[in-house]
Symmetry: C2
Subunit: 562 residues, 2 copies
């Protein structure tokens, strides 16, 4: 039995459960999110930290056909010196090598490719602590979030992509017998075979804030459907990608395939390579997470490729009314604090009627609502240990500068403060900035302000809030829409808005689930139907465009008459 | 029960069988291809003919929101005067009307929409004779082909699209209960709903040669997924589209929906409307069958839409060897004669070693092979009744001119002759032109020559044939590749070529199936993986890109502990 097949056999149960859960959309995950030694092994944390420390100041070892240059300019948002060197492969040599390796990977078949992917995910899971440190010290996420979002939750999204693509490929039989009756004459009979054939080389452009979570879906969807993959990491967050690629290469080689089928093409801010890679004629698939400007450029300038983007948007909350505002405040305090709003799902625009809202505790003015929200955030962050772990650090100095620039955009309800980290003196830690603006200032709040910047927007009414949200989401896009209301008709209106502007809706979240969280197998991340993204994690369109079906048919003798 | 639901209930069995057959890819069709009164009713032919005659010289009645102008310039390739007038709707009025109708169609749900689509197909089937006359006298197809390809086979492709899209939509549950355990704490619990939401207005650009077969897949895939559809017929073949739209409008209205959800936007050669429609911001889906020049323009200039194209290509045959050449000749005589090669699947380039081929009857020189092929065609067409019915008429005067222009491109092995039609004195009937060229004349045979023009290409060897086919198909595309060989290793090589250039392969066809035929539910028409087409009829990518999923979620109390 081939190694790939034995990987498949070992993980087949996981795959089947993933396919089933992806259909039922219930809760499930094979990768525990609790960073516990009892689950991952008593020495897992120490071992992971040691592996991470071992990378620092060293060249990172990956299989590369021909090295063009050494790059490496990562800086930990916590101030830790990384100084890791990475090989940038020569583009033509890499593409030639991948094209040469593609037929064997294609011909290995669906189960062998799935087996390799599932084994990669399993080994990624076992190295979740190491990954957590790598994600923490590149993205700035707090350790716990780096463990979960960078590890098990990213692995979940990778598995989801494998499962969805596997199910899609399985819809086509490997062979068919086609017998067409011809009345009194012998039937026409043909034997047909059908083969899944990859599109070509797949370029996955990773982002600096979620280098694994946003990368694995495209990477694994492309790989399992037979396409060689080049991951182009953000210069600021290479290590999590490098570790992922290293594990993929290790499994591919063990299974007898060219490890370069998954490769990394790192670059520097001074000499970016993405545009040249994206327009290479051999590149047929592009996955991108990042700015709208670059995502739109990719969509419009790479006609040789199918382009899947997740871009900027203006995530939105509409507060109409609430049974009690306190739990709303608690929920939103965590939502707005988590990773200092550096998530593609964090609300930026919160629409509230200028005359205030009704609650079961009576009517609250706009300013009372605003005070509850800012008070909840302040209270939540008053525990410094909680604060630094939930906020994490600011990934880029651009975001840091933006926070200060934005302070002049409205009436400051809550100023962004700099917090000290007990362990990292130079950590860039900032609390959320909360601004009050009038609905008329649409130019201000309808531009994405990536980072911990939130606008409370005073509107004429909830009707007005809906109209503004409709306009802004239609034009600028959004991945999340949250609504708070005790009125069924307002919730119905929210549902209508969500359907019209094609955005995922969360209603009245006051518990332990937050509008900016998206669970694999159950939640679709982005719809692909508004300007914030042209793809969805993970729907049929995300996987089915990565391969074609090539059939072969031949005459056979008609079956004997009965 | 709603009318739409009763349509669904009436046709549910057909839908389920279509979904199952689409997965098994065996033979099946609910729409009989035999133009028989015993199946379609004793007066079906007379009634159909009468309905067709009734359209001549009249304005055609369709629901149109606001009429911009009257158009109509169809001419029967058989010389019959048509003089039918069609309303061209005002574009903005039509789009406004369709956008207003879209939410009700979206909210009707999957089964209601499928019910309406299935009822439309059923009524189209009942009017197959009428459609046959309409298709014959616009495309030039012979009556029997017009009946089959314009009627039941087109309906099959429409049903296939409905079935594939229905199965795709069904993969997403309408609701889910998500319960995430939290150790000793109460579980997190959410109720989620998922809704299929259409992309927007769907533009289907029809061609002059197969105005129903190539139109129904896009039309029905878009309609069943909730998108309003505008069909833009070719100015030379409007009537088959008009009848189809009329039936769709009738069923939509009966079911309580706006009939304009399916509309027609005819234009004239002098004032084409396609580009303006295709770039309209409300148009989110475009299906196109026609020239590579226009298809490529659509792919590159309509970034607001998902574009599905079937374009030009150079369909290919490679003759390496044969048990006996006679049945090959008989098979190819029909293949090359059928509808005078005006099919997107008819071979244009036939590669044969210049030193000839081996057969069980001994070695045959290139010229002997060529003589067998031309002799087979001549013999097949020697019966005038068979000839005119199989050849049909030449749809466009451009094609007519092309045949004569091409006669100078090589050594004429078989001249294209003009045949008289017993019933239509002015019918444009031409037999196939067969040319011998050297492999070096690649510029000549690698350009698509739409119509009855075939090149027999003298190559150094079968290896050389494969290399040339690989180059031409990679660069120009192809929908079909046929190979004749008695050698397993050559057939393996053919399979490798097919996988590499992503083209459907037919091996050693000598019976009653022809390389240019493609059966719904079983054969994928085009792969979408080479320059001849970016889409495939009908794969997952063809349907899944026509809708997005919008979810809504809310907290619910955790389930009681057991």
């Amino acid at each position: 039995m081939s190694k790939a097949q034995s990987f498949y056999d070992a993980h087949q149960g996981t795959l089947e459960k993933a396919i089933a859960t992806n259909r039922s959309r219930e809760f499930w995950s094979p990768y525990p999110e609790v960073a516990s030694g009892r689950i991952y092994g008593e020495t897992a944390n120490i071992d992971g930290r040691a592996r991470f420390d071992g990378y620092l100041g060293q060249p990172f070892a990956l299989e590369v056909p021909a090295v063009a240059e050494q790059v490496g300019e990562e800086e930990s948002p916590y101030g830790l010196a990384l100084n890791i060197g990475y090989d940038r492969p020569d583009t033509e040599a890499l593409i030639a090598r991948q094209l040469a390796a593609m037929p064997a990977w294609r011909d290995a078949g669906i189960e062998a490719r799935a087996g390799v992917c599932l084994e990669i995910l399993d080994r990624l899971n076992k190295r979740s602590f190491e990954m957590a440190y790598a994600v923490m010290h590149t993205t700035g996420q707090g350790f716990m979030m780096a463990f979960q979002a960078g590890g098990p939750h990213a692995q979940d999204r990778g598995l989801e992509a494998v499962a969805r693509a596997f199910a899609e490929m399985q819809q086509v039989p490997q062979s068919a017998s086609w017998v067409k009756p011809q009345g009194k004459h012998p039937a026409l009979a043909m034997q047909k075979t059908f083969r899944v054939v990859p599109k070509g080389i797949s370029l996955v452009v990773a982002c600096a804030t979620f280098p694994t979570w946003n990368t694995y879906p495209g990477l694994f969807a492309s790989l399992v459907t037979g396409n060689p993959v080049i991951v182009k990491p953000h210069p600021g967050a290479v290590l999590p990608v490098a570790i992922s690629v290293q594990i993929a290469q290790e499994v591919l080689a063990e299974a007898g395939f060219d490890p370069c089928l998954v490769s990394m093409a790192p670059d520097s801010r001074q000499s970016p390579v993405t545009k040249a890679l994206a327009q290479h004629p051999a590149v047929k698939l592009i996955d991108f997470t990042g700015s709208s400007a670059f995502g739109n450029w990719l969509e419009q300038n790479c006609p040789q490729a199918d382009v899947f983007t997740e871009k900027s948007g203006v995530n939105t909350l509409i507060i109409d009314s609430a049974a009690s505002l306190k739990p709303v405040g608690r929920n939103l305090a965590f939502t707005l604090s988590l990773y200092s709003g550096q998530m593609c799902t964090t609300p930026q625009a919160i629409y509230i009627p200028r005359d205030g809202i009704d609650t079961d505790d009576g009517h609250l003015s706009f300013d009372e609502v605003a005070a509850t929200l800012s008070g909840s955030i302040s209270k939540f962050l008053s525990n410094p240990e909680v604060a630094v772990n939930v906020l994490g650090a600011i990934q880029s100095t651009d975001t840091l500068a933006r926070i200060d620039e934005c302070a002049g955009l409205g009436e400051v309800l809550l100023a962004s403060e700099t917090l000290a980290h007990p362990d990292f003196a130079n950590a860039r830690i900032r609390t959320p900035l909360l601004l009050k603006v009038d609905a008329a200032a649409i130019e201000t709040y309808s531009e994405e302000r990536f980072g911990p910047v939130t606008f409370l927007i005073a509107t004429d009414s909830t009707e007005h809030s809906f109209a503004l949200a409709r306009k802004v989401i239609s034009e600028k896009g959004a991945i999340t829409l949250g609504v708070y209301s005790t009125s069924d008709s307002v919730l119905d209106q929210a549902q209508e808005l969500a359907l019209d502007v094609k955005v995922a809706l969360s209603c009245n979240l006051t518990g332990g689930v937050f509008v900016n969280q998206s669970a694999a197998f159950s939640d679709f991340h982005a719809t692909g139907g508004n300007p914030a993204a042209n793809a969805s994690l993970t729907d049929g369109a995300f996987v089915s465009r990565r391969f074609v079906v090539v059939q072969s048919r031949r005459d056979v003798p008609p079956p004997a008459a009965e």
